[in-house]
């Protein structure tokens, strides 16, 4: 005969199991994690939005200023270069105490004829690897928590979507 179901019986056990020793260890682990997060969030996380924005704005301003200085340069440099060409002998005499390396007429011509776009590209190609190296150098010291803390919500969402897609197809097979 089937056992009769009684919702009002006093004992309400659960059909689940808990790993042995779980409750003994969880308090210590939680306290440790809470303190770690508190330490991690004490300065950088609470200041996260404005610091990032301030940094991004500074970089933007620096780049913009750099761009304008650089963009201005050919227009001011060009007449000088041309003038240099016209008064070459004088310039050579006067150039003696100048610390900059001497520019050969061929190279001078190359500089003058170099289109702005090509120079910009050269500038960019000089800049990018340096940025990449800096990031890679910072990498080995980075922990998962620090990395996650530095990501935008969208980036975390993207990683979480990937993680979730694997959870359902793969993780269960490891249990």
């Amino acid at each position: 005969m089937k056992e009769e179901f009684d919702l009002d019986k006093p004992q309400k056990p659960m059909p689940y199991q808990v790993p042995p020793g779980f409750f003994e260890g969880i308090t210590h682990a939680t306290l440790k994690e809470a303190k770690r997060r508190e330490a991690a969030t004490a300065t950088p996380k609470s200041a996260f939005p404005w610091q990032i924005w301030a940094m991004a704005a500074s970089v933007a301003v620096l780049l913009a200023v750099g761009y304008f200085l650089w963009a201005d340069a050919p227009t001011t440099r060009q007449p000088i270069a041309k003038a240099g060409g016209q008064h070459a002998p004088v310039a050579r005499h006067e150039a003696k105490p100048v610390l900059a390396p001497p520019v050969t007429p061929k190279a001078q011509k190359k500089i003058e004829s170099k289109p702005e776009a090509a120079m910009a590209q050269e500038k960019a190609s000089n800049r990018e690897p340096r940025l990449a190296t800096r990031k890679l150098e910072a990498g080995p010291e980075e922990s998962l928590d620090n990395l996650l803390a530095s990501l935008s919500d969208e980036e975390v969402a993207e990683l979480a979507a990937i993680a979730a897609s694997e959870t359902y197809v793969y993780e269960e097979s490891l249990q």
Binding site: V61, V156, A160, I162, A163, V169, L174
Partner: protein, 153 residues
């Protein structure tokens, strides 16, 4: 005044470009590299591997990771904000087929790399490596949950 306006526009433009790139892992190889490095550190910590072993494991893991990433990044995710119900039968069918296909591809990659991992690690360590990866995924999801919680507060 004009210079100010130009500066501001340039700054905003730059920020938009930067934030636009940050939203897509595919266009962010630097982030991918940071992730790989973090994963390698977590694996080293979990498996208690010495530097020498790490040197041997690192190139194999990087190749493996890049193959796994190629599957993930090529994945056609369900558009943001759409529920399963809002998909047409055809779209859902395509999505399911792709998910199943990806599951097979990911398993195949792991299966193919298993003998290579075993040249550096024991079978038990390979298993722990896969578990460490699963743990990283869990922590990513927890971070997501935490942020959603903060947004809701």
């Amino acid at each position: 005044m004009k210079v100010y306006r130009t500066l501001m526009l340039l700054g905003i433009g730059l920020l938009l470009v930067v934030s636009g790139q940050a939203q897509d892992l595919r266009n962010n190889p630097q982030l991918q590299e940071r992730l790989t490095q973090v994963k390698l550190r977590e694996i080293q910590k979990t498996l208690l591997l010495e530097e020498e072993k790490m040197k041997a494991l690192s190139p194999i893991y990087r190749r493996y990771e890049s193959e796994v990433n190629s599957i993930h990044l090529a994945r056609q995710a369900r558009p943001k904000g759409t529920s399963l119900q809002s998909l047409s039968a055809e779209e859902a069918d395509k999505l399911v087929a792709q998910q199943l296909d990806n599951a097979v591809k990911l398993s195949t990659i792991r299966k193919n790399y298993y003998p290579e991992f075993k040249t550096v690690l024991t079978a038990q360590q390979v298993m722990t490596l896969f578990k460490a990866e699963a743990q990283i995924r869990r922590r990513v999801m927890l971070e997501m949950r935490r942020r959603m919680g903060n947004r809701a507060k």
